[in-house]
Symmetry: C2
DNA sequence: GTCTATAGAAAGATAGAC
DNA sequence: GTCTATCTTTCTATAGAC
């Protein structure tokens, strides 16, 4: 009966070691022996808690997708440029965290073999992140700082897209930084403000 | 002496089967037995041509990165909106091809263990693609259809970023399409034209 | 639940005949 | 170069004692 998700010291150690291994090596290259050693536990103990390697992977990854993407909204009084800049900085801090990058790599790699995982990741990561940013954009629109020329969701997609263009992709591939993150953010803010700026200085 | 890259029927069959396997299963989950079967060849024959699984992987993937990303430029006479739209459509056709997606997944997954591969991919894919699009942007700037407010490289990054935002990410994760590609392209074109449009109608 | 020990299958790589 | 057969290691998973 390896079902109950009761917290237990060994169980947590197994999950932690497994997460480290799966994120670093990927699913196929991770061995149960390695996880056992990493958790200072015998292999049999792992199988007392999890039915199979596949289920251990699912448990670990779904847990990783939940531990969440809290995007703190900018101060209400901030003007458009400030709000967009702060939002961008916080989003990039989330996306560029080593663990977030590793999680993304594994989810993408296993997407075809673990569709549930891909969906869970998407709903908890990108979808939540987009919702948080859309709220910021919508607020700026209501205040007349951004024109309602396009709906908030579209603007948000463009914002996120422009941010992930260079820096994120290079990080994902393990390549050294190209242009600076600050420059990318500033260019993005400028484009959105010039495009959708309402009453703001022109 | 498994070095000479002499073309040979069996050698090509091995490379083809290996490519199929690596792109579908990933590096670790691909077995040499599977490749041998897929190529209708014995395992020993593979080792007569390639020193190890790792070298076979490198050969296959580098070949895949070369077989290239030719981005045909739009007609010289096209105006900004048309040129940007056509360029976007052609770029997305390249990025969304199933093989291109599979290649990207594997390169990302193995980036930390195969830095050379990541670099090769980046130079042959994203870098070439960006160069091609930057040339288009620069031409539009010289013709006065786009303002030189930002350098062509920055505009190109924003263009690519906005395109890859939603559709590409969902495809990468194997999720069904969200908003339509046409809408994404149209919104991107509008943003860039409104932001950088020079003498064009405003 | 937790361990040691091991079963049983599959992996990467090679020997040797042709 | 190409094959069959095999070596050796490593893997997932389990049996059985405690």
């Amino acid at each position: 009966m390896p079902k109950p998700a009761k917290p237990s010291a060994k169980r947590e150690a197994i999950l932690d070691a497994a997460q480290r291994a799966f994120l670093e090596e990927g699913y196929a290259a991770t061995s149960m022996d390695g996880v056992a050693t990493g958790a200072s536990v015998s292999k049999a103990t792992i199988y007392a808690h999890f039915e199979s390697k596949e289920q251990l992977f699912a448990a670990v990854m779904h847990r990783g997708c939940d531990s969440s993407f809290a995007l703190v909204p900018p101060d209400e009084s901030a003007d458009a440029r400030t709000a967009l800049t702060v939002t961008a900085q916080r989003l990039m801090a989330l996306l560029m965290a080593p663990k977030a990058l590793a999680l993304y790599r594994v989810v993408v790699a296993e997407a075809s073999r673990s569709p549930d995982l891909a969906r869970t990741y998407y709903e908890n990561g990108p979808v939540r992140g987009k919702a948080a940013i859309t709220a910021v954009i919508a607020l700026l629109q209501r205040r007349g700082e951004l024109a309602p020329a396009a709906d908030a969701g579209t603007i948000t997609d463009q914002l996120i897209g422009m941010l992930r263009a260079e820096t994120f992709q290079r990080a994902l591939l393990g390549l050294p930084d190209g242009r600076s993150l600050e420059d990318t953010i500033a260019a993005m803010v400028e484009t959105l403000v010039q495009r959708f700026g309402g009453t703001a200085p022109r």
